[in-house]
Symmetry: C2
Subunit: 300 residues, 2 copies
């Protein structure tokens, strides 16, 4: 027995995804009053509001649960289409909602999944989250997959290793000349400003600890991968940067290593729903193949 009228759920998804009733209606080829009526009917059926009406309508908690369900059903319907091609009425393209750590999104991710998305006509809806929040979204069913540093699968999910990102401690030549005129001594690093991505970024702490330096250090906070590189190049501080993000800067000498050869490898894992259907399984296979070439092997 099918409990839901999926036309009503599609209206909810369109309003939220398009960020408003007018644009949602446009996306579905409906009038604005028609889409409003569908949302009201949906709310009458479930007996609760599904949207918080504001300039940008947000789903209520129940609304979010319904949207997660819509995403799962869409993925499973996608599997059916190869057997029942007439099901495909030229409706919206497949949409995958995924959580990624910022540095993956800024470096290898697009090259690893680009061909797959182009060939299968998949649209990605990406959210950028540090690992704990990304996994929380997996658990809540808000995203179908997640790239992060945690190897612990969530309930209902699988987890496979992708490889590790290699970080190097870098700064601009001007920064080094200013703070370390006699060469970089690890003990002095803590007194020169570092750059930290955010409160959860422990890479700079680990780098200092690996060099035998303990205690606090002064730092800027910059929650943007590319901003982090720009601040480093601009001589504002030193920081741990994925080597693949700054190949050009290293070649041109715009950034140099503080302690040559001193690296930190951060293992990355791909979390995905068990019941995500064929599309998610195919993406997983594609991702595993490509990521291995773009990342370094996970140690141990």
């Amino acid at each position: 027995m099918i409990m839901f009228d999926y036309k009503l759920l599609a209206a909810l998804a369109a309003v939220v995804e398009q960020g408003g009733f007018e644009r949602g209606a446009q996306a579905l080829g409906l009038s604005q009053s028609a889409i409003s009526q569908r949302i009201k009917l949906l709310e009458a059926r479930v007996g609760q509001p599904v949207l918080v009406r504001s300039a940008r309508p947000q789903p209520t908690e129940l609304g979010q649960r319904l949207l997660n369900h819509v995403q799962q059903v869409r993925l499973l319907e996608g599997d059916l289409q190869q057997w029942v091609p007439m099901l495909d009425e030229g409706g919206p393209v497949e949409r995958l909602r995924l959580a990624l750590n910022a540095d993956s999104l800024a470096t290898w991710w697009a090259a690893a999944v680009g061909d797959f998305c182009a060939e299968r006509g998949v649209l990605l809806d990406m959210v950028m989250e540090d690992q704990e929040v990304g996994l929380k979204r997996m658990r809540a069913g808000e995203v179908a997959g997640c790239v992060c540093a945690s190897p612990r699968p969530v309930t209902g999910g699988r987890c496979v290793p992708l490889g590790a990102m290699r970080y190097r401690g870098l700064a601009s030549p001007a920064f080094i000349a200013r703070h370390f005129p006699d060469g970089v001594r690890p003990g002095e690093l803590a007194r020169a400003p570092a750059i930290v991505f955010g409160p959860d970024d422990q890479l700079q702490h680990r780098y200092l600890a690996d060099l035998g330096v303990s205690g606090g250090f002064i730092h800027h906070l910059c929650p943007s991968s590319e901003g982090f590189v720009r601040l480093t190049c601009g001589g504002l501080g030193w920081g741990l940067v994925p080597e693949q993000q700054v190949r050009g800067e290293l070649e041109r000498g715009e950034l140099v290593e503080l302690v040559p050869g001193q690296v930190i490898d951060v293992p990355l894992y791909w979390h995905h729903w068990r019941n995500g259907g064929e599309l998610l399984a195919a993406l997983t296979a594609h991702l595993l193949r490509n990521a291995a070439q773009m990342l370094v092997p996970i140690a141990g």
Copy 2:
């Protein structure tokens, strides 16, 4: 009359900025029980909790107000130090909390403020926010300055124009060959996947509207400036990219213009507290001088 014991407020600031009691204590050179006691004493004085105790302690609403006050006092104290140098006990370096739009942080920002921060020993605590949220934080006193596209000053703040970022509609040659084998026709753009930064990013809509195309279009969602460029290079979609972010990709032909010469200029404004002290005023002067060279003039 001084109402507050600033030692207690400094303890609160350290716990929040360092993301925990242990690291906060370390930063102040205190034991963990000493810093806990200070927080408890502060809460006893104000009669309310100032922190929500969790793995990562978060300030309560009152706690946030106290932190904003600490930041303002620190800025004003900074002004005093040039007259009363003995006030400077080698304590924490000046810290400026600012909100920036993602594309500024990913491009011109660091080059525009790098020298200033290095010379004055200023540490930046940056938050990345779209314009409405950034201005809300200005209004709440959570940030001392904000770069965004809104020209309306908030209460207690000033607003000065910086210049405009120039965006071009770009895609990879492979993407263009796949979707537009006979050349890019604007009317067909809406049927090839676009990339959109987030629900508030209207640049792709404006670009299509400028080309006389109305209605919806299919798109990926990618809330990362550098991820956006990587997706474009990877052939996943077309999108509006700041030209200064992809000079190399354009020169090497890794990205090409969809409609040559068709640009969107986004004016940027610097919002800052009126009572932010000398440091903020000097940063403003420095920023205005440098940004003008890195951005294009604001039209009209």
